[in-house]
């Protein structure tokens, strides 16, 4: 992915860069969604990161649990009814023991849904070449613009540097 980015030593300078790019997006004709931030660890208490701090993952996990539990209930009761073997005095559809299967399936549903939501919303796995820089892993924060408009590169570079970038690089 082609990108122009700067490397920042800390969250505050990265935030400055993000704000600066965002203010210039109309003028330099690029979409604010083209702004990327990449870090080596979760950036809490950082305004740009907070925007993503809302998601329906908990509710989707609950939904997965409900679906899993329902599957468990249907799996046990339907199969038991469809083949009514003599059970030697036990009920054909025993609630106590089936409850255990329903419980495990509920949990499995929640786990699978969480996993699926994570993979879908975090865009994993992806075959795109990830935007990254070895410097990130020693604590730098990458802020940049993907597919920067050709004619405004100079201005973007200036803004990235001005916000306090240690280095500004262009990804081919």
């Amino acid at each position: 992915m082609s990108a122009l980015y700067g490397l920042y030593p800390a969250a505050d300078s990265a935030q400055r860069a993000v704000d600066s790019l965002r203010n210039a997006s109309a003028e330099l004709r690029f979409d604010p969604r083209q702004i990327v931030v990449v870090s080596q660890e979760p950036l809490e208490h950082f305004a740009y990161a907070e925007e993503y701090a809302k998601s329906a993952m908990y509710w989707l996990a609950v939904l997965g649990g409900l679906l899993g539990g329902t599957t468990g209930y249907l799996l046990t009761s339907i199969t038991q009814k469809s083949y009514p073997l003599p059970t030697g005095g036990m009920p054909l559809v025993p609630p106590w023991t089936n409850g255990i299967i329903v419980y495990e399936m509920t949990m499995l549903g929640a786990i699978v849904f969480t996993l699926a939501t994570l993979l879908v919303t975090a865009h994993l796995p992806t075959f795109k070449k990830p935007l990254t820089d070895p410097e990130i892993w020693s604590g730098k924060i990458l802020v940049g613009v993907t597919d920067p408009p050709e004619n405004s590169r100079r201005q973007l570079e200036a803004r990235l540097t001005q916000a306090g970038a240690l280095a500004v690089k262009l990804n081919p």
Binding site: L85, P86, T87, G88, G89, M90, T97
Partner: protein
């Protein structure tokens, strides 16, 4: 009304001759374990005669108790089987479906009477014993459980015969191999749902007890206690 097969064993009459054990082996294609395996505790007798001593020598008395699958109404072996290999038939028998058995051995551990047996190896019959195999009974391969069936092949045979002749089954018309071979007539087999049957009559005896009856397994084998 479906049948409810049951057995009464009169402990007063049992002499401990073990003819039932031999008959069972012959009828049900049970291989003999051999000295070596027997020493390792792997004998396989669907019916065994348990022998207990009462009192101290010289005033010791011996007590024989034939133990076979009790065909429990609330069988501990049935619910624990993950594949329904061990299940309850509509005639009240604890059946073992060999094809479904994967050999978890859970049923054998759950059985309080230790009357379920595992095929530790493939069965072998030395020549000429292979010629006496009963064609009505399947041979069990390595890795599966087996147990007394109340000679289910004889039950089904008699039922089919009676149906072909368009008549009801008569009490005592057929018997499992152990009952048939019991010379002191200590064992009686029949239908508990037929109030006129010998088994129903004997089961009403005041001497009737159930083996480990306190466990609540509701066995269908009744033991008539010794009076003498």
């Amino acid at each position: 009304m479906p049948h409810k097969w049951a057995m009464v064993i009169d402990l007063d009459r049992c002499t401990g001759c073990e003819a039932c054990v031999v008959a069972c082996h012959a009828e049900n294609n049970i291989p003999t374990a051999g000295e070596d395996q027997a020493a390792r505790g792997r004998t396989k007798h669907w019916i065994r005669v348990e022998r207990y001593w009462e009192g101290e020598f010289p005033n010791a008395r011996i007590r024989f108790q034939p133990v076979l699958c009790q065909q429990c109404d609330a069988a501990p072996c049935e619910p624990v089987c993950p594949t329904y290999a061990s299940y309850h038939t509509s005639e009240g028998l604890n059946a073992q479906v060999y094809n479904r058995c994967v050999g978890t051995r859970f049923c054998a551990n759950a059985c309080p009477y230790n009357v379920r047996f595992f095929n530790f190896y493939n069965p072998v019959w030395e020549k000429p014993l292979n010629l006496q195999l009963n064609p009505d009974v399947s041979v069990r391969e390595v890795g599966i459980m087996e147990k007394c069936t109340f000679c289910v092949q004889r039950i089904h045979g008699a039922e089919i015969q009676a149906e072909a002749e368009k008549r009801e089954l008569k009490d005592g018309e057929f018997n499992p191999a152990c009952v048939q071979s019991c010379s002191p007539k200590a064992m009686v087999f029949g239908d508990l749902n037929d109030p006129a049957s010998e088994v129903s009559r004997l089961a009403k005896s005041g001497r009737n007890t159930k083996l480990l009856g306190e466990l609540g397994t509701l066995p269908n084998v009744n033991y008539l206690e010794r009076n003498s």
